[in-house]
């Protein structure tokens, strides 16, 4: 081992990043460039693209020739679909946070040995495929599923309570799929919580609410932000869950994009939709960056 100065060491490190950079360029940046290029082309009649420049895909996101009189008009169809996805994602993230926080707190306050068991329990659902878990939910909540039959047997309800193929079913499915993504980062934040700080808070006559909002939440903030992002981002592009539990009657962004590459035969549109979604996600990440920094400042 040669003893290298700080500069040589930095150079060495730069070489070490080369494989990672190459992989990211080849499989991350290049495909993205293709998506950008495709979004700026014209769609070929039966799928695929024609190599002529066009911003149609972006213009038609907000403006379309009226179906019936050919005038270019503002239309909100796509915005509605994006709005629905956004709303479902926000609700799911919120519910995950509300239920995930106490769970993570509970786990973080167990003795170290039992913590591992609780964490294992949280991750067990990942041992089976998302599709299978989603289909299992479907079996639970359908009209003659376990939940309805159970409630009817108990005499709580007389006729099945319609849950499957509704917005409720979609949010339930998303919540169930992504809850662990909330619990795990929250846990890793709360694990570092020094309980002497909580004690000190009580010693200084803070009540329970003040201890929660002034001490615990600021320390857990990076975990909250990370958890929210890890739930929100996959939610907004979710494809399988809305398709199966929503009954296919209400499009979400994922299905909308798939549709463009399928029977709509409009690849540029699909590419543009995907980029618009990505832009949205990047904005969310930017907020994350800002809030995470502020979180550190708070904790200090």
């Amino acid at each position: 081992m040669s003893v290298a100065g700080p500069e040589a060491e930095a150079r060495q490190r730069r070489w070490l990043t080369l494989p990672a950079v190459a992989v990211i360029t080849l499989f991350g940046v290049l495909p993205l460039v293709i998506v950008v290029v495709y979004s700026l082309l014209r769609s070929a009649p039966y799928g695929g693209v024609e190599w002529t420049f066009s911003t149609d895909a972006y213009v038609s996101f907000l403006y379309q020739k009226d179906i019936f009189d050919d005038t270019l008009q503002f239309h909100a169809d796509y915005l509605l679909i994006y709005g629905r996805s956004l709303a479902f994602s926000v609700v799911t993230t919120f519910v995950c946070l509300i239920l995930g926080f106490p769970t993570a707190y509970f786990i973080a306050t167990r003795p170290v040995a039992t913590r591992q068991i609780w964490l294992l329990l949280v991750t067990i659902p990942f041992w089976s495929n998302l599709l299978i878990r989603t289909l299992a939910i479907m079996l639970l909540i359908r009209d003659d599923g376990l939940v309805n039959n159970g409630l009817m047997w108990l005499g709580v309800i007389d006729t099945p309570f319609v849950m499957i193929f509704t917005d409720f079913a979609i949010v339930l499915g998303l919540f169930y799929s992504f809850l662990p993504f909330m619990v795990l980062p929250l846990f890793s934040s709360l694990e570092k919580l020094d309980f002497r700080l909580v004690e000190a808070g009580f010693d200084l006559y803070a009540n329970r609410f003040q201890v929660l909002t002034r001490i615990i939440l600021p320390i857990a903030r990076p975990g909250i932000v990370a958890g929210c992002l890890l739930v929100f981002i996959p939610c907004i592009g979710a494809y399988v869950t809305p398709l199966i539990l929503g009954g296919g009657k209400h499009l979400m962004i994922g299905s909308l994009i798939a549709e463009q590459f399928g029977s709509a035969r409009n690849w540029p549109m699909g590419a543009a939709q995907a980029l618009i979604l990505m832009a949205g996600v990047l904005v969310a990440l930017w907020f994350y960056g800002r809030n995470a920094r502020r979180g550190v400042a708070h904790a200090r």
Binding site: I67, R142, L256
Partner: protein, 342 residues
């Protein structure tokens, strides 16, 4: 964070790019799901000493998008009629000349000069069928003989209907309901279609390809579906009835086609010829539940299937194959469809 996302994307790209190694004596088939009789494949493997793999897709569009992306490794695909037309026009299929093959004489004459492959220079029939709907007669006792049951159902069927997640099938059904021609570019016609769809949407519980499960589980009592699927539903539950409507019905034919970039083109040709043998066509039908386009295959079918109501439409029934609509009409269809599902 971005790094993580990129890494994930890189992993996916690696997986999608991987293709199986090719050797002589292989045949790779890409067919609709739950549509290929394993006995048929075994027979072909033994007969020609060829290793066959079968992968499946759920719609013409899925298959088309994959083939268009290139380098699929598949030799044979089974596109429906309008998709064959598109694939020939875009130069995706190999001109294998089935019309010169030894078993070509078995093809039913009315399936030779078809709009999607005039004179059969590219494809041979796999299965053909009809798209209307099936009714669970345990749940619904009323009359069912018209496409209007899907669009203006009686009160007890409101919210108990599944439609196919298929833009073309649903919009063509609406066109038949309001009585306008298929692929009409006339604005007034399209408006009628749009209005009929929007009015019917509240009556539909789901829009899904998964028709048999939705019927079996009792999620719906009526589903738009294909006759072969209707047959399978009736076998599972005798109360299911596949309906032949008094309006003209949508016919489709799926066809065995060879991809232009097929590596095992000779084996693929053997398979096309193999599928025109009546006994083999019967094997395919027996499993999938549809009729085939081959003369003399019925005598190889189990009797109860050969006489099944689903594959023996009444003499009064009329059907039509629908060519792909012009791009301008598809664009409007797409707007109507997005508007319907927004």
């Amino acid at each position: 964070m971005t790094g993580r996302v990129l890494k994930l994307a890189a992993g996916l790209a690696l997986m999608l790019g991987a293709t199986p190694a090719m050797a002589k004596g292989e045949l790779h088939i890409y067919n609709w799901g739950d549509y290929t009789n394993p006995k048929l494949i075994e027979k072909f493997e033994k007969l020609y000493d060829v290793k066959v793999t079968v992968d499946d897709y759920d719609s013409n569009e899925t298959m088309l998008a994959k083939v268009r992306a290139g380098n699929t490794g598949y030799d044979i695909v089974v596109p429906s009629d309008y998709t064959v037309k598109i694939m020939i026009a875009d130069g995706m299929l190999a001109e294998t000349k089935p019309n010169t093959m030894s078993n070509f004489k078995n093809m039913i004459p009315r399936f030779v000069n078809v709009y999607w492959d005039e004179g059969r220079n590219y494809t041979v029939p796999w299965q053909y069928g009809i798209t209307t709907y099936a009714v669970n007669t345990d749940k619904y006792k009323g009359p069912a003989d018209s496409i209007s049951l899907l669009f203006a159902p009686p009160p007890e069927l409101k919210g108990r209907i599944n439609m196919l997640e298929d833009m073309n099938s649903v919009i063509h059904a609406a066109e038949r309901f309001v009585g306008v021609p298929r692929c009409s570019a006339d604005k007034a016609d399209l408006k009628k279609v749009n209005d009929a769809l929007m009015a019917a949407k509240p009556f539909w519980r789901t829009i899904s390809y998964d028709t048999s499960t939705k019927m079996a589980s009792g999620d719906v009592d009526v589903t738009q579906t294909w006759n072969g699927m209707g047959h399978r539903m009736r076998v599972a539950n005798p109360a299911v009835r596949f309906v032949f409507t008094k309006e003209v019905m949508e016919a489709f034919m799926d066809n065995v086609a060879v991809l232009k970039d097929a590596k095992n083109i000779e084996n693929a040709k053997l398979f096309q010829n193999f599928m025109m043998e009546p006994e083999n066509a019967a094997l395919a039908s027996e499993f999938a539940g549809y009729d085939n386009g081959i003369t003399g295959s019925h005598k190889f079918l189990p009797e109860e299937f050969a006489n099944a109501p689903e594959i023996n439409p009444p003499a009064s029934a009329t059907t039509e194959f629908v060519p792909p609509c012009p791009p301008a009409v598809v664009e409007t269809y797409n707007k109507i469809w997005t508007n319907l599902l927004k």
